[in-house]
Amino acid sequence: MGNVLRYFLLLIFSIVVGVGAYRLADPTLRSSGKVDFSSFAFGIPSLVEKANSEVKQMNPRPPSLDLSCNCKILDQTFTELKFDSAESCAEGNMDRNYLHMQLERFKKSDREGDYFSPRPTELSSEKDVPLKCVMYVMKGFLNYSERPQLIEELKLGQPISSLFGKCERAKGKPKPIFGKPCLTEEYVFPIYNAFVDVTNCLNHDQRLYLPKLFIESGFHINASGPGGDGGIGQFTKPAILEANKIIPQIDQEIRQNPNPSCRRLAKYLKNNPDTLMPKGNLLSENVSERCAFLHSPPNPIRSLIYYAALQNQQKSAVSEKVDQLEGLMKQAGLANQNLYSREAIKESLYLLAYNVGPSGAQTLFKNWLQFRSQKHPHAPFQPQDFDFNLSIPDEPFKDIKMDEAEKLPLTFPQYLKVFRKGYLRVMAIYKERLDTNLGAGQCTPAQFLKL
């Protein structure tokens, strides 16, 4: 009996040493920084620390993962956008580690380890937005725990633009929760890596989405509005139904595209076949099932792919609707003096469509064109008439009545403001905030919401 036990222990010892040696010898694991010496060093802390720091020195984080900045969020100045520690998130009267168990489950679902950890330089693309941009948005997004007056507003029944939700499963309705999730590495990297892969695979502009997602969800997987809109994309019933129209097609596209981002996503979808179409069915649009877009796993992968699908639908709908206004645009003087780029108009209206719908955006733009050409024919069109980056003075546009405003040759941003549709102007302000804090062009497109 003693011999059997001795041989058994020897066998276990050999396996442990063998696996450890194999992992060290594997160049892909070494270069990705995924070698964990703790499994190999049998609990000698100093050796573990030394070995891990050597690995870090051999594989410093690529510039895209550098978090240094000279930036401000609310009134706080930062030289580095550090990750939160689980300990710091447990302090105070609200524990913000409530997604920890879900993230552990996401780690298990990410069998190839493509999403959970920082990626080495050779796996990142030059066009990828730096991690600090996403981190800044996540940190800067409304934080109720840091802003007690917002909780007061909620108690008083004031309209609140956004909350967070908690889901026990990827089914059912989220329960409101105030605290923003703890920004640990295990929370931020899956979101950043998934964002990079979905946008690269489906050929979407990452920088265009930064100001938009800054307003919508701040990239938080459990963002949840009071009207039921939820997830990174703040999905509503009509948005889910619209995305569902092309989800099977997008699923195929991801699986067949040889691009490295698509291959990583395809592996995740293969290992987790219920991510997009559970048991071959499309996801329910009902608000009672909104947790499907908040719970992890399969989010953030599911919600980001759905977001991309919705953008495709909105883009194509708006493109068609802008083309229908060709004659009116010429009549209003938008075609003169090389002032207008139809693509820039389409892009701005497609961003507006997220809030008012493709036809809603067309209606507002069409009416503005008619308003300028019929009511103010002597005010020639200028580029600033379609520039959302210019500030709108409070006077006379604050609380102005439409019939008074009509006497002025309103620019398109002013026209929308009078209609209480300030969405694009707010987006331009968020873009400016990203540019000021992290450098122009780092996180946002050079040409944004203007001709």
């Binding site: 139904l241 619209e242 008012v356 719908g357 009416n367 405003a405 209609f419």
Partner: protein, 145 residues
């Protein structure tokens, strides 16, 4: 009989009030006429059983409003946007021969996606709200082919 008339008056009042929104000026003759015709359309649609006839009534309404607008020229911006949302919403519905009651869920979803995608079940934008109400009547259980 009296209660129906009272309800109609309240409906007209509410409709005019919601459409005025931030507008200080009194409603134009087009607006007043549209509101009246809209109310009458809703009553007719509610009493009509045959879907095809209902859809012809909707088309007749669209035609009337178009003629009215072309006769009177451009109105206030608020009214123009309201009328565009109403008419474009109704025009987004399939033609009579293609309209299928079993697809009503899709028609409603499409109208929301096109005009007010941040709402879950029904639009809040005044013009779209009216178009959506008409669609709801068309899709009601009483409709027959």
């Amino acid at each position: 009989m009296y209660s129906r008339t009272i309800l109609k008056i309240i409906g007209l009042f509410l409709l005019t009030f919601t459409c005025q929104n931030t507008m200080a000026a009194p409603p134009s003759p087009i607006k007043i006429s549209t509101v009246k015709q809209l109310s009458s359309l809703k009553s007719k649609l509610s009493s009509e059983k045959q879907l095809i006839k209902k859809l012809h009534q909707v088309n007749g309404f669209i035609k009337n409003i178009k003629e009215l607008r072309s006769r009177h020229g451009r109105q206030s911006e608020l009214e123009e946007v309201f009328l565009d949302r109403l008419i474009d919403g109704l025009k987004s519905l399939p033609e009579a021969k293609e309209f299928k009651l079993e697809n009503c869920r899709n028609y409603k979803a499409n109208m929301l996606f096109q005009f007010d995608p941040r709402q879950e079940d029904e639009p809040k934008e005044p013009g779209t709200k009216e178009a959506f109400e008409i669609l709801t009547i068309l899709c009601s259980k009483g409709s027959t082919k």
